[in-house]
């Protein structure tokens, strides 16, 4: 097979809930080491799209390939092992353990019962932990129980956990919702700094934030792709304006 430059290929995917088509013959390709932003009005299918990629929701029709693997053959945790990490809209970290432990359980080691039981941190793992906890600016709070972090810090911790996994593709859902301006700025810096060697899909409403990322934008509408392009072309697109302003 020819070397495939697309890390993710979504081919004609349909998902319906009780007759409502959340995704309607959606097709989409994402290249390797690219950061893209997905926007779209409510009900456009953004969350469902992430659900099908991560295997949480089964698709009715169509195929999804990640690194040439047909994802319908994999369970949720196997998809993670293939290299897809997901950050939820609301921070989903483990609140009752420390920041450090949160990162430890995200560490990309064998994740079966026995190896977890006899797990000892190796030096290289330790280095990685230190590196990432510095990247997400939580080094001073490493022993803090995670529920005591601020909202923004929780979001960063979750991004840090995805980094620990060494995923090739990160799905990030509304990372800056509810953040202060300073936190938003820090988050965009963080994303840009980690985007160098991995593919990132950001789903976001905040247009200023997306503009600051300066990446390609994909517009979803009624379960399929309306258009894609850079910020300037999207802003001028008549269809997009219609969708957002209402007909």
């Amino acid at each position: 097979m020819v070397e495939n430059k697309n890390i993710l290929e979504i081919d004609n995917v349909t998902v319906s809930f009780d007759g409502f088509k959340a995704l309607n013959s959606l097709s989409l390709e994402i290249k390797k080491s690219q950061m893209v932003a997905i926007i779209g009005p409510n009900g456009a299918g953004k969350t469902t799209l992430q659900d099908v990629i991560t295997g949480k929701t089964k698709i009715d029709n169509g195929k999804i390939y990640f690194k040439n693997n047909d994802l319908s053959q994999f369970s949720e945790h196997a998809i993670v092992e293939l290299g897809i990490g997901r950050k939820f809209q609301r921070p989903t970290i483990i609140e009752n353990i420390s920041v450090w432990d949160n990162l430890c359980i995200a560490l990309n080691t064998k994740k079966n019962f026995l190896s977890c039981l006899f797990n000892q941190l190796k030096n290289q793992d330790l280095n990685k932990l230190v590196e990432i906890i510095s990247t997400i600016n939580l080094k001073e709070k490493k022993n803090l129980i995670a529920k005591n972090l601020s909202h923004g810090e929780k979001q960063w911790l979750e991004i840090g956990m995805l980094l620990m996994q060494q995923s090739d593709l990160l799905l990030i859902d509304e990372p800056v919702a509810g953040m202060t301006e300073i936190e938003t700025k820090k988050t965009s810096d963080l994303l840009l700094s980690i985007a160098k060697d991995r593919t990132i899909i950001v789903v976001e409403h905040d247009m200023n934030f997306i503009e600051s990322l300066n990446v390609e934008i994909i517009v979803l509408h009624e379960g399929s792709v309306l258009t894609r392009g850079n910020m300037n072309s999207i802003k001028k697109n008549k269809q997009v304006i219609d969708v957002y302003l209402g007909r």
């Binding site: 991560t54 949480k56 369970s75 949720e76 945790h77 993670v80 092992e81 990490g85 997901r86 939820f88 989903t92 970290i93 483990i94 609140e95 009752n96 353990i97 432990d101 430890c104 359980i105 995200a106 994740k111 079966n112 019962f113 977890c116 039981l117 006899f118 797990n119 941190l121 330790l126 932990l129 230190v130 956990m161 996994q165």
Partner: protein, 377 residues
């Protein structure tokens, strides 16, 4: 500098010390270790008139409490850490007990009322011709001990694999565990089921060739219970203080996140549930020779739910909390039922309500509240 900050190499002794948990846990284990030797000695060698003598009733009662403590421990592992509330842990306890009871029945031999060396009394009474196949092998203590682990373990494995595999969680899981234990109760009440029906298994004579009611046996059984409880505690501590402890908390608080971190949470839950069931089964097996009977009442849903109150009162998610809870509740039960069974039932009901509403962490909350109020004055 970073290296020092995150240094985590520990010496072996240090590891074991840490395994024992915080101060309360260490005290508890120390007391248990001392009691392994002290109580049987006081029971066997101190003359009965002496103040320090421990009667056979008391030592069996204490042994029984320790079995309950092990049972509570097993529930804490699955409920306190993993957030899965089993309302059917009596099923595993009871099955473990029945496995041991079957062996003790076989050991009676021809000393039963009917003097039949081939069949236990109740089978003779029911006019059975021969031993049912599932009683084969129970003549051997080793085989029975194996079954004590295998039967509850296997049932828990199959049951939880089905349930967790299809993502049955929360209250639904609790309800079907209750249905499971209720089903077992109905089944074991049946004479045709082959386990003595109503009356269960009783009238045991020997265990491992020793008279089951002799002082030495009672002492030994107490020591075994204490040793198993310590072992159970250590096993749970090993699991909890490894990375798995955090993973289980993760499963409890945010199972989705754990899945997206690449953990097959289903497998973790199945394994923990099975380990928990095996511990419960062992507790049951130790319980039966000390109380001298096992009957289907052990499978009644109320008994299973009582286990939950032990853990809730002791404070879940501490392990030693479960042990303390089990002992405290059962000591209270022993005293209050003597005063009046009605008071005990009302009291039990009140513990359920008050603990869940006001002391979500059980006695540890109480300690904190007392400290706080005391401190203000």
């Amino acid at each position: 500098m970073n290296k020092q900050l995150f240094e985590n190499k520990k010496s072996l002794i240090n590891n074991i010390y840490l395994l024992l948990g915080d101060t309360t846990g260490k005290y508890l284990i120390t007391i248990l270790i001392i009691s392994i030797f002290l109580l049987p000695i006081l029971h066997i060698y101190i003359p009965e008139e002496s103040f320090f003598h421990i009667s056979s009733y008391t030592i069996s009662l204490l042994g029984k409490y320790l079995c309950f403590a092990l049972l509570a421990l097993s529930l804490d592992l699955i409920w306190g850490y993993t957030g899965i509330l089993s309302l059917g842990h009596g099923a595993f306890f009871g099955l473990g007990g029945y496995m041991m009871g079957m062996h003790l029945m076989r050991e009676i031999g021809d000393r039963g009322v009917y003097g039949n060396s081939e069949l236990p009394d109740f089978m003779v009474f029911l006019n059975w011709e021969e031993l049912p196949w599932f009683w084969y092998g129970f003549d051997s203590f080793l085989f029975a001990s194996l079954m004590v682990i295998l039967v509850p373990g296997l049932l828990a494995f199959i049951f939880s694999a089905l349930a967790f595999g299809s993502r049955v969680t929360g209250v639904y899981f609790s309800i079907i565990t209750q249905a499971l234990v209720f089903t077992l109760m109905l089944a074991f009440f049946q004479n045709d089921f082959g386990f003595g029906g109503n009356n269960g298994l009783t009238d045991f004579k020997d265990i491992l060739g020793k008279d089951i009611s002799s002082k030495e046996t009672r002492g030994a059984l107490y020591s075994c219970s204490a040793i198993m409880l310590i072992l159970g505690y250590l096993i749970c501590r090993i699991i909890i203080s490894s990375k798995i402890g955090n993973i289980l908390v993760g499963i409890r608080d945010r199972e989705n996140r754990m899945r997206f971190l690449g953990y097959n949470t289903t497998v973790f839950k199945i394994i923990i549930f099975t380990i928990s069931a095996i511990l419960a089964g062992i507790a049951g097996a130790l319980y039966v020779p000390q109380v001298g009977i096992i009957n289907p009442g052990e499978f009644s849903p109320i008994k299973s739910i009582e286990i939950v109150v032990w853990v809730a009162l002791g404070g879940r998610g501490f392990l030693y909390g479960a042990i303390i809870g089990a002992i405290v509740v059962n000591v209270l039960k022993s005293y209050l039922t003597i005063i009046s069974p009605e008071i005990w039932i009302i009291f039990l009901g009140l513990i359920f309500i008050l603990v869940t509403i006001y002391l979500p962490n059980g006695l540890t909350d109480l300690r904190r509240i007392i400290k706080r109020n005391y401190g203000r004055k």
